[in-house]
Amino acid sequence: MKAVAVIGIGKTAFGAFPDRDLRSLAVEAGQKCLADANVSASQVEAFYLGNFAGPSFVGQNHLAPYVASGIGITDVPCTRFEAACASSGSAFFHAVSSVAAGIYDLVLVGGVEKMTSQSTPKVTEILAGAGDCSGEVRVGATFPALFAMIARRHMHQFGTTREQMAAVAVKNHANGAKNPLAHMRKVISMEQALAGKLVSEPLTVYDCSLISDGAAAVMIAPLERAHEFTNKPVKVLGIAQTSDSVALDSKEDITTFRAVRMAGEKAYRMAGVTASDIEFAELHDCFTIAEIIATEDLEFVPKGQGGRYALEGRTCLKGERPVNASGGLKAKGHPVGATGVGQICDVVTQIRGEAGELQVARHSLGLAENLGGSGATAVVTILGAA
């Protein structure tokens, strides 16, 4: 297997953009990425696109060539990947696999979602399609409801508190306020977070990520060729995609995501590192409880200690191991199909030392965790300075 490097990144702002369509967002991210990588569209050998529900949100299918042609990429394989909220994490995993295998050298990986043209109840219904539509969804489960039930069980078994979950929201909003590309650039207080409007008990709006439009892209190449294009390549040290059952009620223990644990173990082994080596991370905080559980599943802390870890401030920007310096899905926004590749962009930006006000102190080894549904897909990527 060849070593693989990220040689370019590109992101749109995340937010609600009534004047922008899905393609214009994806094309903007792709073009920014090509420029950052010093690669022309005609050099791209394959295009992998993560998108969860373009057909439902905007009525457009056949998205990969639709976007690629807008970027100026034609003739080559262009393929869409769908794995719920891990759609572009999955696209990235498969793109890295194909470059590592020697099939292609230059692959562009994009992710996009255009969500805000639909009403919140309609978005809620479309997102619920990532659950088991013959069981939990038919009964009335939304994604906030599934994660609310996960939170309740975590609180019951480990004594996790509302304050601990709110601490995640307060931290991620504080970071997002400094991120020029974030959807919600607003600092919130603990009191506000606790008094938010109920979505699905015990989760309030402040426990839930945002409904956003946005796109992100990364260019990858064999590490041995990276210096032809950039003087700041970032190496993919470890990567794994894993799966589990879709229905929450078929999981034996809902206070942990088995897929994340397995992906973490595989990625750590591939990178030859342990959890304690990871200096900072972008974790999939679709809900505050998901960030807490991710810190446990990735072995940053022992099982059941994630809530306390967050409340003690150890995951803050200036903490011992910053989590979601970008603002996370909570504040940066969660255009579902763009999230996985967006996380890779954020980790690469940190490793390059280009994160400005949000730069973490130690930034040579970072991790991104992208979760699909209530844990049916997980992608964990470990990136390091090349």
Partner: protein, 73 residues
């Protein structure tokens, strides 16, 4: 799907305030994952009194394919 077991225990629960489009008229409603007598789990709706983790519940009826359980007296 097999007929629901009559008795179960609440494994976890939530009250949904923001419902998907097809259930907005029902909100707020309580749902739960319950552990049935055979140890399998099932996602159900709760009728009547609010339930908590560990509560014993029993099957009430199936409404439009949705199983409803309620707190055992």
């Amino acid at each position: 799907m097999t007929a629901p077991s009559q008795h179960a225990t609440v494994y976890t629960e939530t009250v949904v305030h923001m419902a998907p489009e097809q259930f907005t008229a029902d909100a707020p409603y309580q749902m739960a994952i319950v552990t049935l007598e055979d140890e399998s789990r099932r996602t159900v709706r709760i009728a009547g009194e609010r339930v908590h983790i560990g509560d014993a519940v029993e099957f009430v009826e199936d409404r439009n394919g949705i199983p409803f359980f309620r707190k055992k007296a």
